[in-house]
Symmetry: D3
Subunit: 312 residues, 6 copies
């Protein structure tokens, strides 16, 4: 991975291009307006403050813009924060495109689609295969570009597809070690489990929850889609109901948003696979920023733990 924002430490100066993920105006304790910018490059993101902004600043420095920025990294309540010295919008002369600044999956969309297609091809149960293929095709464009979440893990462009590809590899490994597992079910569950995110979230970058996402949620959205697909394809076996159950239960517990706990073996294993891939992703990113012999920043979605990086 090239050098980027996550590789700078407290006290470092930076002079680089970045992308404004979001911009929020507020009023400082001296009564003057300032902007809180979330800036990103391909390696990650950082919070920045732009003090004493003019009305022009407010109009210019809004979400989904690329900027040239100079400043230094400071410590603010135990987190890194960028103090901006100079900022300007990029122009054509900068020869920089937004796609150069947006964090995205380490695999190309073609590679990911190829991998997933192969898993579907290997399925033996035609009902499971047809439902999965139909739904993937229906939402393919968004599936390949959306993030897997607004924050915490795989919250970058194409993060959803990348999370699915990693989970499929893990499903294959576990399926090989525990041969009673139905691999078709497991692969279909992995591919469909978060597909409803393409309706729950607003888009590939700077994503927020849609009204439907807030009121219904990606789990119920997808359960409905599976039902409709089975109707459309004239599939009447039990497979459709079991796939709905896998999606319904993949958060594992009622208090985590699954109205039914996993009651089928592969549903339980799907929950583990989802969990492992998400959490290793979060730990890896936190540890990438820490030096051996140090603790990471606290990771909110991992019960606010700090992880230690051994010296050996």
């Amino acid at each position: 991975m090239q050098k980027g924002i996550v590789h700078y430490g407290i006290g470092d100066s930076i002079d680089t291009y970045m992308y404004i993920k979001s911009s929020t105006k507020a009023v400082a304790s001296n009564g003057k307006p300032f902007l809180t910018l979330i800036l990103s490059d391909k390696t990650g993101e950082i919070e920045a403050k732009l003090w004493d902004v003019t009305e022009a600043d407010e109009r210019n420095y809004v979400g989904e813009k690329a900027v040239k920025i100079q400043g230094e990294i400071q410590n603010y309540r135990g987190r890194s924060q960028l103090k901006i010295r100079n900022i300007r919008l990029t122009t054509d002369l900068d020869s920089i495109s937004i796609s150069d600044l947006i964090q995205t999956a380490p695999l190309s969309q073609e590679e990911m689609l190829g991998s997933i297609t192969q898993f579907i091809f290997e399925m033996r149960n035609p009902n499971i295969q047809r439902i999965t293929r139909h739904l993937l095709k229906k939402y393919q464009a968004d599936f390949l570009t959306f993030p897997a979440a607004t924050k915490n893990h795989h919250e970058f462009m194409s993060g959803l597809a990348y999370h699915v590809v990693s989970m499929l590899d893990l499903a294959k490994a576990i399926g090989g070690l525990y041969p009673k597992l139905d691999k078709d079910l497991l692969y279909a569950g992995v591919i469909l489990h978060d597909l409803g995110k393409v309706m729950e979230l607003s888009g590939p970058v700077s994503t927020v929850y849609t009204v439907e996402g807030n009121l219904i949620g990606h789990i119920s959205i997808m359960v409905n889609e599976i039902g409709k697909t089975a109707d459309e394809l004239g599939i009447s076996g039990e497979e459709s109901m079991i796939l709905q159950h896998l999606v319904l239960s993949h958060h594992g517990k009622a208090e985590w948003g699954s109205p039914k706990p996993p009651l089928v073996r592969e549903a339980e294993v799907l929950h583990y696979i989802d969990n492992i891939d998400a959490k290793i992703n979060m730990m890896d990113r936190a540890l990438e920023k820490a030096k051996p012999g140090e603790f990471t920043e606290r990771v909110f979605a991992l019960e606010n733990r700090s992880f230690y990086k051994p010296q050996f």
Copy 2:
């Protein structure tokens, strides 16, 4: 209400017709088989033990049969239990039909359907009205005969419709006092909230959970049905999503089975109305069996409380 099984006390003898809701064979500590029967009449039910059963007994005294029975009420670990002295299957000579023995709603199916139809008629929003009318019509037959649950409250024939009628009256009263409430939404939410039970449960009497009921649940079943109905009727407004949300959230909290909490005013109020009608129903039935100055049996679904019946 006519005199029935709930009106007898410890020590009373009975000689009456009853309906076998369920029958379970087990082996006593003396090594001989016995049957545990759940017997009901129109007023309620009681557990009974038939000791030292023959193979003929096992064949005869199974669920969904009517029997003539003599015995007496005893106390078993703080609960009433019927000790059977004599039992036989009914014959044509008894001039008794099963419908005479099954607990059912205090209103006729026609009365209940009439009442609900009137509420739908009063709706002003055509989208809400059409979805509600369509789904009620689609499942009307089962809706009018199914219980609202396998136990705890309204667990008798036509209990589902009766629960809905009581809730509609309550919705009307509350809607009158808090005029900002959208009565159309509230009525539609009441009518649809438990309609998925006709697929979650197996039938009007001696009901158990279906596989679909266990794996998907009545909430998600109905959310899917609303989505399909809106598609079929070509309704594209926000009403369909809001109705889905009302059904989805009517258990109030994730840990009670709602993947989203109520996020619309009428969804919150629907949850209250459901709760009040169910709980007053449970308290009324427990208190009916208690005398003034006494505490009721413990009511499991009310946090195992015993309720006191004042003397005045």
Copy 3:
């Protein structure tokens, strides 16, 4: 309701009279003192900051004063905040009295007292009636002016009486639908349940907890008062104890401050009625500020939820 502070949005300018509910001095990050004012008018309240205050400002702008104010509404961490441009104390020339600026119940004290008196008049049980009438009369003056709480719901002048009047109407509606409920008990429970607030809180406006309120609480205060009243009136029946139980248990659960859960039918229903009236009040006020198609601010006392206002 006339136009007031709750009807302004982010960016709006205001030029109006307001009432200082509370004023707190603190030191800004530039080392200069500033005041955080809670300002209200008849429609609601807003937080405001007065920067770089002088000693005269500190003396002038304290709680329970009326001020003329100019400024604009800004967004501070997702909440509205008033940035003050000009502020001065009102003078006689302003022809404004504090009562014009204080949020108060939408019914007059006379209307509310008349309504409650009628409910007491309708009681049939003389013991319940005499205890209720005695206690209402004893604390009538404060009861008619106090708020129902320091925040969350009915936290305005006469909010306590208004909450009681709404609950009585709800009690009457529910009592009509579930005829086994003892309406006398229910009405008395409603009237007495929060009456201890007149000792728990310090006064009708800018109210805070008293020492007795903190150490004993309105529930135990009122339970004691009922016991004393029964003694004084020579009432020896069970009614006094049951009324004490209704007050004692009206928060529903030990962890919500009721040392006993409701163990009498009407105590359980009283808890529902209190809950419904308080929560609909909170939702109504949050939704009043939101536009169709938007979510409200988070409501802390409703598990921090944001509510959606449908577009139809």
Copy 4:
């Protein structure tokens, strides 16, 4: 302590006098009635079964009778149970009185009253002293004979006073080590904290909860009594309110029945003292029955733990 029922082990035969604390009829799996007796002597109690009882047995072997009994101790699901071989009511010829068979405090009522009186005598604050003395005197007879609970700890005759005496000694020791503690408050809190049990429970032996005990509870009963006493004695200082708070908060947390947590230093310490004395009492009794190198029976009120008795 003389040899008694707690000193017998599995397999031992006994031939002794015992007291019937309670007797419950039920029906065995062979259809015959039997009695479950809780039998006690001065050292403790044991459950016993009397099989195949006649109607005369049912009339004779009821609560609060003394019996001569022969049988042997058996293991029933990990607990000791007495299998009765012979049982008869005692007669005058047995020269045994019920007081010989009832477990009671190891100190006489006179000793305990003397000790408590001395603590009251030592109080320096006249308001605290007068309230405490008045209430002790008012309920002295019951206070000296009632148990402290129906089960778990100090559930024997005069257990309430004995618990108070032990706690006073502990309060004195702790008060000596932490001199900022107000000993008057601490002693008064100890003496009054459970005094409401004389109204919560039905009597000195075979005690059950009264209706008032169930609906109001000993904490609220005593808070009321302190308020009334202060009124009667014309005490207007803060002491009465603080004493009410000590009683109100002595269970420590809302979920344990205290509507307010301890908010005064001595209230917090009172909670510790109550806890320590009760729990050491429970551990001592469980460990008395265990041999070195063994674990005790599970103690329900100590989170169901088994305690180990070291071998040294």
Copy 5:
């Protein structure tokens, strides 16, 4: 797997050899003693009741004996129970040895030891390798024969080693997919994590907790052993502390017995691997007894869930 006790259904007769894992005497409701036997063969175990036992029966049918048995499988409260018709101890004429009847791991001790040795051989960090090899060697004999638990999962002879071997395979697969994981740490963590069970439990069959197991627990026992081993081997680097942390934290949360949560990446992954292998083992065994289209018995250690076996 050969046909055995887990393959019989309700109503089946059996005539076979079995091993008595435990035998408990109790008294039936007719006053006669009976034995509750836990009988096992290589496929699993079943509870059996032997009624009306003689003193000779009590002496003969104790734990760790082989018996010839005839009887039939019955339903007792939703669980299978064996009703014994005939039972006798085996003699030399039966040509059956206890090892034929004890459930054991599907791999031989040699195979398992070979596999684990290979994993240790592959380690690159000499400190981790030496500590792991030393401890495995020290406790090798018990490690190869002990179960992994007294119940729930891998509770058969050599279950501990088998659990470790399965986890090592899983660790290798996951380590391959997430290359930042330190495989040495992961393998050592897997091998050591439950090694303390050889001191926590009493032996390879009919195992119970030792006093040390109850008071200290396998986690703390092993943490101590690692510390002592590092001292003995003169290893002073950070590896010893990190290995202690992996063992200390492998239950994942304080409330599950780990005084520290995982704070090192491999500690977190070790917790997942342990969890997955244990839970798939439990689901596999429950599902083995169920037919397609049915639910399994409830599995206590999986939150008491019943799992559904799909029909396809």
Copy 6:
């Protein structure tokens, strides 16, 4: 106790020497750096802000320095904060040494060591005595200077030893009142329970957690030490295991960091003694700053309660 920082109130000016416990740089909302200093004297500590700092300020005002300071106490969000007007490092001319400014135990190290030695001398069980004496001697120097914690209670120099001395006195008092308690075990448990803090924490002042403290924790560190000591001294009895259990379980519950709950009587009592001494210490310090008739600041470690100081 001499007058010090805890005795000043809001609005008071101070001109005194203080010790910098810690210094953290951050950036104010005007973009300029400032320092947050935790300043202490013998009576306690206070937070202070130094605005607009120069690079020289940053170099000078770091942890573990003594300073001369002038400023005034202000209210910041309900807590006291020192606004610095003048600050300078102390010089030899000030005739002040750091030990004059560091909060330390009210007893000298010699007094505390003498007291503890006497308790060890009184032990009768030679195994307990030898293990305790050995470990105290091994870590004596650090034990006498370390604090008991980084915050909450006894977080001053020699706080660990002072906490132990207070607990020993309490253990003696309780041991006298409940004679079945094994005083040797209790004393040894008190002396050893927190001794692992000398490895968990970094030093006597400005203490932070070590890596070993974070990953292993003082409980497991000490359990290991006891095991090693018993090995070294050749002590083979049960005492070593029981002492390990006392240390292991002294936090009382798994969720508070004890992998086993107390399962030995003295372990349970050790937990109470630790709790009482810590909590009375916290209450005393909070109440010292409050006036009669007022509530204290909220005490985080006491469930965030504010305590009331009665007026009598």
